[in-house]
Symmetry: C2
DNA sequence: CCAATGTCAGCATAACTGACATCA
DNA sequence: CTGATGTCAGTTGTGCTGACATTG
């Protein structure tokens, strides 16, 4: 069907879009505060006890400034709040507000539904294999081994 | 290890980045004309006999205008050319130039190497399962089940 | 003083919508 | 005329670099 075998980056992008679109559509249908894909990702890397912006940036693989911007938007939306870190005055922990908590649980539930629906289509074992392969340690993609030393 | 189980969108994004970064780094190391991720994707959906901008846009899942812009950049870079469609004057087919052909083969080879390297890390069967699951027909992600009818 | 953090500001890129001419 | 296509223009959003104050 395809002119050439679809590339892996292409496949990953399509797969991601499948989940993203389903998630955002369902959230909107549920009347939740609209969030951008970036902000949704931020929620995904937030942990429960509060995190600094710098740490969020590292988890998302972006700069502090970018993470800061995303956080700012979510603070304005009332889903996140910054609280001073009791242990260090220069840090400010990012935590979910009650509204943010609700949105997060909602999003988690929707993602689970999407995963279940996917399991109906391609089989539970397919989904499990998918997750297993994606969660495995892939190591570095750059720096080709001694077989092909660039220069 | 993760605060919460990493979400599928997150995993897909990481996986895609793994390939994208490896590809772009290797291309650059090989001294190829630098292309943006978007332009790389455009190459991936190009077929050998020439394609219209509108068709490329559909395959990439973006608007015609966006695809047009990406094509424009690659035409300027000398990797693509627009040739009139012999069968229809309003269409202009996008084809690879000889330079573009070289770059395409190079990219394909690198992606194959990346896939092989991944197979060394997570096993060939893991890679095969990954591709099989991604290439399967996932159907629609929107249209929530009767459990959550909007409105 | 140095390093990490949080923040503000400006810039580049890539996506979008709008508009319009062309042609089957 | 209608619809699809190619193109130009403007806008928005997201990520970047640069810069700087604060604090351990």
């Amino acid at each position: 069907m395809q002119p050439t075998r679809r590339s892996f980056p292409q496949l990953f992008a399509d797969a991601r879009r499948w989940f993203e679109e389903g998630l955002l559509a369902a959230m909107e249908a549920a009347g939740a505060t609209p969030v951008s894909p970036t902000q949704a990702q931020l929620f995904a890397v937030l942990d429960d006890h509060g995190t600094t912006v710098s740490e969020l940036a590292r988890r998302m693989g972006v700069t502090r400034q970018t993470a800061h911007q995303a956080v700012h938007g979510l603070v304005d939306a009332g889903l996140l709040a910054q609280v001073p870190d009791p242990g260090s005055a220069r840090r400010r922990l990012i935590r979910r507000t009650p509204d943010g908590e609700r949105a997060h649980r909602q999003a988690t539930a929707i993602l689970q539904q999407l995963e279940d629906r996917l399991a109906e289509r391609i089989g539970r074992e397919g989904v499990d294999a998918l997750r297993a392969a994606l969660e495995a340690s892939w190591g570095e993609s750059t720096a080709p081994p001694p077989s092909a030393p660039p220069r």
